[in-house]
Amino acid sequence: MSTRSGLLVRYLLVSLLALASLSGGTAQAQDFKRGKKLYALCSVCHGPGGHGKLAQKAPALAGLTDWYLVDQLQKFRNDKRGKHHLDVTGMMMRPMAKTLTSDKDVEAVAAYIAGLSPKAPTVTFKDTDPEKGKTLYNVCIACHGDKVQGNEELKTPPLRHLDDWYQLAQLKKFKAGMRGADPTDAQSAQMRAILAAVPDEQAMKDIIAYQHLVANGGAAEEKGKP
């Protein structure tokens, strides 16, 4: 009798575990479906594969991590990003981020994007000097990492799949105070402070060129070069 009841308990436990894993899987599949559905709106500018569109000044999203995407989407939703009157593209993104009406939707779409396959970043700048960029990158390395991989603890993004034109535009925005001006946005304030060590646009281009070399072993696509 005791053996029988032991078998019954075991059977029940196994069934419950199987049911739990099945329902977990279903929830995950539902989140993925929801993320994919929500991404349809984003894909108009960012492309169906999340590779960005230069014509619309929309950056590549594939290759960014879900935690960074959530963080930035929340900043747009909470008016911490895209609220400066000269930040033309930021002001385009801010209302679009607000179409995500719940934190759950933000997480679902970020998880979907994080699962997209990245492509090598587009290189459009000529006359860059990655060697100079290497020296300048020393101020970035502590946060963005030696392999440009980012750091979740510091909330710094991986930059390896971001096109050079987008990176330059963002660096210029940080420098001009168009991005990171919100006093409650500590990470962006740090970024603005660090940029004091980057003297001009050419220096920014050199840093970006070095990042692409490091991230892709010098194999960055040469699209956009005449």
Binding site: M91, M96, P199
Partner: protein
């Protein structure tokens, strides 16, 4: 009618004129709609199919038949004249007339945000103390405002329902208009011209403030701008070491 039926407040000096015109058009057109439908259904019933009665072809040339066309026609033309006179008088007051301004602001539309440039404490635009905001317009009750409308990209339409104001914003042009806020509160601003995928979320807020509150807002923003400028200068200054 708009205020009572749709609970849409009037917050500008000319909102009542627009409402009056709206009511006039609704009453005149509504009267003729009911009359025309009434006559149509009366005739349908009066001349319904009956046993032993053959259908007739009516050319409408006899005097007794013609009056059914001519009298309503003349009355409709008379009503048109009333509507046109009413519409033109409102149009001239709002669009052709430009009263002396107390304050001038700039409104810039872009996909999908409104940028408002307010004059700072010096009361003049294009000076250092200008206050630029995104999706937030702050105005003072009882002051006449002139606005210059500009677009950074495509055609938008600057729509402030409580002011009963709607004006297209055309790239390459600067369109000037005016309003005088008459009621304090927080109201909607929207884009009323399809301008891309984010058109539906191109919304902003209008804050109509009393003189005291407006001064407080201005003082707060002037301080905030100075502080943010100081931070920006500190953060972007090249290292001297």
């Amino acid at each position: 009618m708009l205020e009572s039926i749709f609970d849409l407040a009037r917050a500008s000096s000319y909102a009542d004129r627009i409402d009056w015109l709206f009511t006039l058009i609704t009453v005149v057109v509504g009267f003729w709609l009911i009359m025309a439908e009434g006559v149509l259904f009366y005739f349908l019933f009066r001349f319904r199919r009956r046993k032993g009665v053959k259908a007739q072809y009516i050319s409408g040339e006899e005097k007794g038949q013609k009056k059914w066309i001519n009298i309503p026609h003349a009355l409709v033309i008379l009503c048109d004249v009333v509507l046109i006179v009413g519409a033109i008088s409102v149009w001239v007051h709002i669009k052709q007339n430009l009263p002396e301004s107390d304050v001038k602001i700039r409104v810039i539309g872009q996909q999908w945000a409104w940028i408002f440039v307010h004059p700072g404490p010096d009361g003049k635009l294009d000076t250092e103390d200008d206050i630029s905001t995104v999706d937030e317009l702050h105005v003072e009750e009882g002051k006449v405002y002139h606005f210059d409308l500009e677009s950074r990209d495509v055609v938008h339409s600057f729509s402030v329902p409580v002011f009963r104001l709607k004006q297209d914003v055309v790239p390459g042009r600067v369109i000037t208009g005016w309003f005088e806020p008459t009621k304090t509160g927080e109201f909607d601003i929207q884009c009323a011209e399809i301008c891309g995928i984010g058109h539906g979320v191109m919304a902003a807020r209008l804050h109509v403030e009393s003189s005291e509150d407006h001064k407080k807002w201005m003082a707060h923003h002037t301080r905030e701008d100075s502080a943010s400028l100081a931070t920006a200068v500190t953060a972007t200054a090249p290292s001297t070491e």
